[in-house]
Subunit: 435 residues, 2 copies
Amino acid sequence: MGGCGKEGGGGGMAAQVGRLGVVASVAINLAALALYLRRRYFGDDAGGGRKGEEAAVAPSSGKPPVTPDSVINLDHGDPTMYEAFWRGGAGEGATIVIPGWQTMSYFSDVGSLCWFLEPGFEREVRRLHRLVGNAVTDGYHVLVGTGSTQLFQAAIYALSPPGAAAPMSVVSPAPYYSSYPAVTDYLKSGLYRWAGDAKMFDGETYIELVCSPNNPDGGVREAVLKSGAGVAVHDLAYYWPQYTPITQAAANDIMLFTVSKCTGHAGTRLGWALVKDRAVAQKMSKFIELNTIGVSKDSQLRAAKILKAITDGYERAPAAAGDDSGHLFHFARRQMVARWAALRAAVAASGIFTIPDELPGHCTFAKETVAAYPPFAWLRCEKEGVDDLEGYLREHKIITRGGGKFGADGRVVRVSMLDTDEAFAIFVGRLAAMK
Amino acid sequence: MGGCGKEGGGGGMAAQVGRLGVVASVAINLAALALYLRRRYFGDDAGGGRKGEEAAVAPSSGKPPVTPDSVINLDHGDPTMYEAFWRGGAGEGATIVIPGWQTMSYFSDVGSLCWFLEPGFEREVRRLHRLVGNAVTDGYHVLVGTGSTQLFQAAIYALSPPGAAAPMSVVSPAPYYSSYPAVTDYLKSGLYRWAGDAKMFDGETYIELVCSPNNPDGGVREAVLKSGAGVAVHDLAYYWPQYTPITQAAANDIMLFTVSKCTGHAGTRLGWALVKDRAVAQKMSKFIELNTIGVSKDSQLRAAKILKAITDGYERAPAAAGDDSGHLFHFARRQMVARWAALRAAVAASGIFTIPDELPGHCTFAKETVAAYPPFAWLRCEKEGVDDLEGYLREHKIITRGGGKFGADGRVVRVSMLDTDEAFAIFVGRLAAMK
């Protein structure tokens, strides 16, 4: 991981995207790639039998299955990699049954600051953070949102004074998550507006979005701007042990998390915020009331069971080498290790790409020194004449998101590392063959 | 119903809220009220045993139970009245089981215009409209939203050109749903702004919100403005047989519906839109992508089962007199008839209030002439000195929403008719005693 971001040393955009190297570790080689391509399918993912199906209305299965000739779409960070875990033993505990008469009211706890927050979901959020140690929850208000995207909008709404002369500036250091500018500006709000790369910004009043580990490049970040009138929103969607060493319990004023990237349940559209200040939490809650009159209780009930299954899995028995069927973070880390090894091997085989260096750190959750395995690869092409890497990869039927959308240049793209095993295997196979 | 709105004759605000009368129908008398107060509890709602509970994480139950001394909150249209139906026989078919591995992807149908719409939900939406005959679906795009509130915002976003010199004016004839101004203006969008009572508006370019039957007063409405450059959004949340005669299959350009007011599942936060124009549907879908990256699949799966249970109930057997346990609209209409009878009796007993007249019409679904029983009572106080009816009722521990929020005067309030039987019984008891 790393190699990017202010904390790495540099500062300017050139430094951000520089210092990437082809890694030639002995452990990461073409043999790993070959092995990976062979075991494309997880053991229990036999395709046909969707066991446990009781819904008379068939649910969707997301994207269609891929074949070697398919277009491979790694544009979104669609976390379907996790499905194999939930089809295994741990999935039993995560099954939810909702009778027809349940949770019909708009309200979950009518007297609460966040009156649409299911108490059981809040309990499991606090319990999971205590298990993982990635965020302080004591003294924080818990808010629920329709994904962390809604909570991000709730935060910038809450932090922008309604009567200000000019809209509040919203900034983040490049490369920044491509949705930040789009989501800030789509309604042309008079309350706030996107003001670009935080490193170029010289105002006194602003909201800085701090995404750590950073989407798209995996960099571990702290706020870069220091002004008494500036405030930060910490997007910690990827601060989980499968992606990065947990080095401390974060205790920022506003911290955003999402089920999508923690457990893989993107379709559940559920995020949560930990908010220190009561008045800010109230305004964020008001935003969600105006925007969607609360948040799906069905998703909250389901997410509560899913988080509970994870924590229960770790409390029942410590993670054991060789069996991570009941331990989500260990399972996911194993997948990420294998995928990054395969990707590094493909990059080495091709010779025209570079990816960020692998940076280790001591993880208080794993209780060992581990490397970071970001959910996205920030892939750069060094080949002469390839100035539009997104377009170049599209010619090879690989859909990625070009650097321009992240405030970076066109020779770099963001690639999701969280798609199905099958899609990822085809991706690395094609990448290795590009010369 | 009725007595309000342009179709009733008048036009100005005075006419809107006028022409209300104390109804002295023989069928509606104090005996009805006494009867209603006696049978405060539904047969199978014994309180204790929440049967079928399998969730290890306990769900909320909404608002706490009421006692004769409780504050009765009828501010929101919280449709908890319906819980009794779903606890009965029909509820079995509406139970949903979601295994831990299901619908994890962001996508439901990656190639579809509304890529986050569960195909099973769309199917049941079309099927239900065919059963009820309240809206044309052939030739329409179906969109899903986090409640119809999100779809309302999607619609005004889609209908407001991004490069316009001034924000698009959003109007609706008073009394209008109190959320329209708040939800239009909370982000101070440069795309659109609330421009108030449609009857006072004289611009050429606008979006008119047509709520029919109307929230708060139950009036049956059509667009009042006629300009080639104006467009209408039809909010048909209450166009279901329990509230109003179904007189035709609506075929407007944009029609909004919500599970909350059709089936009572407000906590599920699910609405849908029927949209004729493909480009408008695409822009609405884009809004939901930017706002919340799609809509909870858990809610979509659940809502699909709920709608299916309703349609199946009617297809299995026609509604029979005396047994509406499998027929939602008949069950709900019976409740509404009883509640409106009790309310009219209380109004007559008190002598200081008036409510809109009861207007009948031929319902193509019920195949008979039935009266309208709106989900809200638009309650006016004729007593000298009561200029703030909301405050006056609050002194009697009854929370309602004052007329000012709907563009009307303070002598009128909106009262939810959809709360629990217990809360509604206490409300009418207190109302009858006010002199």
